[in-house]
Symmetry: C2
Subunit: 144 residues, 2 copies
């Protein structure tokens, strides 16, 4: 029972997290179960909004829910060493850099495809031809 409380819709507006997503976060335990009104509606206070904003920002940076769970528990205990937080962020950074590298390779190949496409018959199409060309190492698939 805090001084200022918000309904879920207002919390969504202020945090930038959608209503069903907030409920989902509660369900998976990323948010503590909200207090309720007599009419069973969820109530959120400033602290909840901060937590939601934290989650949203972390998700924007691509942290997985499990990582966010850890980061949140670290945040709740400011005397702890932040080595764990640092490790999580560094791991994410490495992931992102790998991803960028592989997307750059992708971009180059796509660029070659569309540049060489004279846009005539499919039979002469470089796009189709490139895709059909099997002279590629068996690498793993691009995720997105």
């Amino acid at each position: 029972m805090s001084k200022v409380d918000f309904a879920i819709g207002e919390a969504a507006r202020q945090s930038g997290v959608k209503v069903p997503t907030i409920r989902y976060y509660e369900q998976i335990g990323l948010l503590p179960a909200a207090s309720r009104t007599e009419g069973n509606r969820r109530l959120y206070d400033r602290r909840d909004l901060d937590r939601l904003a934290f989650i949203r920002h972390a998700r924007e940076l691509g942290f997985e829910v499990d990582a966010i769970r850890t980061l949140l528990s670290l945040q709740d205990d400011p005397e702890q060493s932040c080595a764990a937080a640092d490790a999580i962020a560094k791991a994410r950074l490495i992931e992102v850099e790998k991803r960028i590298a592989s997307l750059n390779a992708l971009r180059d190949e796509l660029l070659r495809m569309v540049e060489e496409c004279a846009c005539g018959r499919v039979g002469d199409c470089r796009v189709i031809e490139t895709l059909a060309d099997a002279t590629h190492a068996h690498g793993r698939l691009a995720e997105a």
Copy 2:
């Protein structure tokens, strides 16, 4: 009934697409239903392998299954204009470029976070602090 036929495991080895994935592709209609032996085992010929390689390559480039469906149907009709294929590839290129741009922004923010982290107490941690900082526009979430 083609001259040379392969079992699904062999097809998987040659195409670089895993066995359950091949069955999955058949199920969703990306591959035509394979012919069968008397004992109900799937049989694949050269053409099927080519198709599988095509799909694999397209997936590596991040094309969605629906786009691949279109690309395959274009490939099957070489007299058609390849404008559609070109459009699909160009759309994908634009997606990839957007993705790279947003990942670069991500990388910069992550880099700043980990560089400024003195790795002391969580209370002073830049990683946690940056995440908690709500001075961010409400953009949409990063997908990976």
